[in-house]
């Protein structure tokens, strides 16, 4: 029994912290998101060099062979500074390839994901708020040596930043995933509340893929990748909530009204204490879920649903209160609190909102 991090994991955390401070500060993030659609190829190269894209990939395919707990550390720390880099999309892509790809496909793709040469985004579901195989309407028609894709994936995270897309589609032979080059599809970036998490609709009508680029999937694997997505999103929520709590807490110590720091008043301090309670709690649930991902697969679904079911709504409220406790300054574009509120809106529905996850907990709990 040990609910702590290893020395290596603590060093990794420090490394990410340093990167975020020196290379990816919030002013840099704003600049990236306003002008460059959230991307900087040089910094991406640095991230790859630091090994963060290779963490969970098998050493056979150029990875580091580490675990979700390690990846979680990176996601937590990068999300403190609202990094727009598609580390989560990349990790989910390599996870998807690892669980669905053939040996040959893994050899072809994973090393390039590990070193950042390929940037991959995943297109799973076709309808908003519907985590189910039934929500996948996009199709793939199988032919002799190729296959034709059809359909629209309206909500693909990071599609515009990617070089490649993994598209989930239905075929006569069950669920398939097609690896396509981004240029093959029509990408239309959508305006959303959170510019640090770009989202695009991807139209794949008439895109032809080689059979070599198709992987077999099924409901269970789809579920697994969704769980990984929910875990990754929760890890990011932990980091972002921590940063917003710290920002708001510091402000509450400095801002003087009625002759005292506002943090002296219980309307303020008790709300901050409640934020701390929620954050500690979904952090514990998230850490446990990350451990389950690798070491207790039979508990993973329930653990992840608890983590995401708790954090989605809690972070949303933390976003609102983080802005509200600042007063008018929190409402300004210039002040950073609002960026976290926007991130909380993004995170809430991703890979299942609280309604979805709470329902699943009830089912798994025999109700």
């Amino acid at each position: 029994m040990n609910f702590g991090f290893t020395e290596e994991q603590n060093l990794l955390r420090e490394q990410v912290e340093r990167f975020m401070r020196e290379d990816c500060s919030l002013s840099k993030v704003r600049e990236l998101c306003n002008e460059q659609q959230g991307f900087d190829i040089q910094l991406w190269g640095k991230i790859a060099e630091l090994g963060w894209l290779a963490l969970t990939i098998d050493p056979k395919y150029g990875g580091l062979g580490l675990k979700w707990v390690d990846l979680m550390v990176v996601l937590e720390e990068t999300a403190k500074g609202l990094s727009p880099f598609p580390i989560l999309s990349q990790a989910l892509s390599s996870t998807l390839i690892d669980s669905c790809g053939s040996e040959h496909q893994k050899e072809r793709w994973l090393p390039k994901l590990a070193n950042g040469e390929m940037i991959c985004a995943i297109a799973l579901y076709d309808e908003p708020n519907w985590i189910s195989e039934d929500s996948i309407k996009s199709s793939v028609t199988l032919k002799e040596s190729s296959a034709d894709l059809g359909g629209i994936k309206p909500f693909v995270n990071d599609a515009n930043l990617a070089t490649h897309l993994l598209v989930m589609a239905q075929s006569d032979d069950g669920l398939k995933i097609a690896m396509i080059e981004k240029t093959q599809a029509q990408i239309s970036v959508q305006p959303t509340v959170d510019t640090t998490k770009p989202m695009a609709s991807v139209t794949v009508n008439g895109v032809s893929v080689s059979r070599d680029d198709l992987m077999d999937c099924d409901a269970e694997k789809l579920d697994y990748i969704t769980n990984c997505g929910a875990l990754g999103t929760t890890a990011e929520m932990v980091g972002s909530s921590e940063a917003l709590l710290s920002l708001t807490n510091e402000y509450a110590k400095q801002r003087i009204q009625f002759g005292a720091p506002i943090g002296k008043y219980q309307g303020v301090k008790h709300r901050l204490a409640d934020i701390y309670v929620d954050l500690e709690s979904f952090k514990s649930l998230c850490y446990f879920a990350a451990w389950c991902a690798d070491d207790k697969p039979e508990e993973f679904a329930r653990a992840v649903s608890m983590a995401k079911g708790y954090s989605s709504d809690a972070f949303n409220q933390i976003g609102i209160d983080g802005v509200g406790l600042h007063g008018a300054i929190g409402f300004t574009d210039e002040y950073d609190a609002q960026l976290y509120l926007k991130r909380s809106k993004w995170a809430r529905p991703m890979f299942g909102d609280s309604n979805f996850h709470l329902e699943r907990i009830a089912q798994l709990g025999g109700i």
Binding site: G263, K269, H270, A273, Y276, V277, S281, M306
Partner: protein, 386 residues
């Protein structure tokens, strides 16, 4: 990170389970000798005061084994390991840390052997949350102290033999935390008068106590004069791992699920109502969060990092769950939820309606939620005191 138990931890768990299988008959088969035998047997095993030093009759048990023991006992719904909950929880640890050699010899074995029951005389009519402001007076006269004043809400006072008593010995001290002194007082001392108070659930567990010219020998002082606050704070800090409570709440959740399965609302099974399903899931999530918070804090302790006030996190969860779970059961059952034991339509023998009146035990007894929030805000987040 590793949530699995080592082999020796697992075999300890096995030992506890085996013991329980042999020595804990179902409730209906327990005769009048059961409790006495039980207390002797757990004592023999060294499980009473499990974490206490061997020198004092404990077992030097590790933090994880301690958690396993608590967990298994709670899972089996076993009776307590001793009759003096407060003696084991903080009076004993307080005496081991601050007591004289005579006090240790005199009090510790009796606590472990369930020979005496202790109660805790901290709160006063005018000083509850603001405990350090207490006014009950103790004055040194020759070789004894003379105590005058009043305590209230003292749980177990009607049947306890001893009280750990907080008094003020210096009324001119610079701060309210100074000038407080702690005593170990026999409840049958002349001048001690106990008046039980009935609570809203109908029970008489706590009482007010009047002290009129009570003579307490100076050798019964715990710690130095004026050191009482320190003694209290460090003793209460022994009240820690929440794993036993978490286990109890998980079994309560199971009972709640059972209730939901057998309940109809507006003619339809309650289990089909999404709002009901989500509420159960929220309870489950919160209890699980308490469990993993507890394990995270346990890991910190094992690594030798001091816990600050993190335990307030679980206290706040527990307080809200304690109110909400029973209340949910009562509300779900509609009119039938109002009936008490003996009612023709009482739900689960009236246990929900009864426990729905008992939440103050947990929610107010150990420091109110507002006070827990102040603790987090001030000691962890570093916000100014109000």
């Amino acid at each position: 990170m590793d949530f699995d138990y080592t082999e020796s931890e697992q075999s300890f768990r096995q030992e506890v389970q085996d013991f329980l299988r042999e020595n804990l008959p179902p409730k209906k088969d327990r005769d009048e000798h059961f409790l006495k035998n039980w207390l002797e047997k757990v004592r023999e095993r060294g499980w009473v005061g499990f974490s206490w030093p061997k020198a004092f009759g404990g077992s030097d048990g590790g933090l994880i084994e301690q958690a396993i023991l608590k967990e298994e006992m709670a899972l089996a719904k076993a009776p307590p390991l001793g009759t003096s909950m407060m003696g084991l929880a903080w009076v004993g640890p307080g005496i081991m840390e601050y007591g004289t050699e005579e006090q240790k010899k005199k009090f510790i074995p009796d606590i472990l052997d369930s020979k005496v029951t202790w109660c805790t005389g901290y709160s006063e009519p005018n000083h509850g949350s603001d405990l350090a402001a207490i006014q009950c007076k103790a004055e040194l006269i020759g070789d004894h102290y003379l105590v005058n004043g009043q305590k209230i809400w003292t749980t177990g006072a009607p049947w306890s033999q001893w009280i750990i008593l907080l008094t003020r010995t210096d009324f001119k001290a610079k701060s309210k935390h100074e000038g407080i002194t702690c005593f170990l007082v026999p409840m049958d001392s002349p001048g001690v008068e106990v008046k039980p108070i009935k609570n809203m659930a109908g029970d008489k567990h706590f009482a007010e106590i009047f002290f009129t010219d009570v003579q307490v020998p100076a050798e019964n002082r715990l710690g130095a004069e004026g050191e009482g606050w320190k003694v209290t704070v460090s003793a209460l800090a022994n009240e820690r791992s929440s794993i036993g409570e978490v286990t109890q709440m998980f079994s309560k959740l199971d009972e709640l699920k059972e209730l939901v399965r057998s309940t109809r609302v507006q003619g339809r099974p309650a289990a089909e109502d999404p709002a009901v399903r989500r509420q159960l899931a929220r309870f489950e999530t919160k209890i699980a969060a308490m469990k993993y918070n507890g394990l995270r804090y346990l890991t910190k302790q094992i690594k030798g990092e001091p816990l600050s006030s993190e335990t307030s996190v679980n206290k706040l969860h527990r307080a809200s769950l304690e109110i909400e779970m029973d209340d949910f059961a009562v509300s779900l059952s509609g009119e039938a939820g109002l009936q008490l034991k003996g009612g023709e339509n009482a739900v689960s023998g009236g246990s929900w309606s009864k426990s729905a009146l008992n939440w103050p035990n947990v929610v107010i007894g150990g420091g109110t939620p507002n006070i827990q929030r102040n603790i987090i805000a001030e000691r962890i987040l570093g916000l100014p005191k109000d």
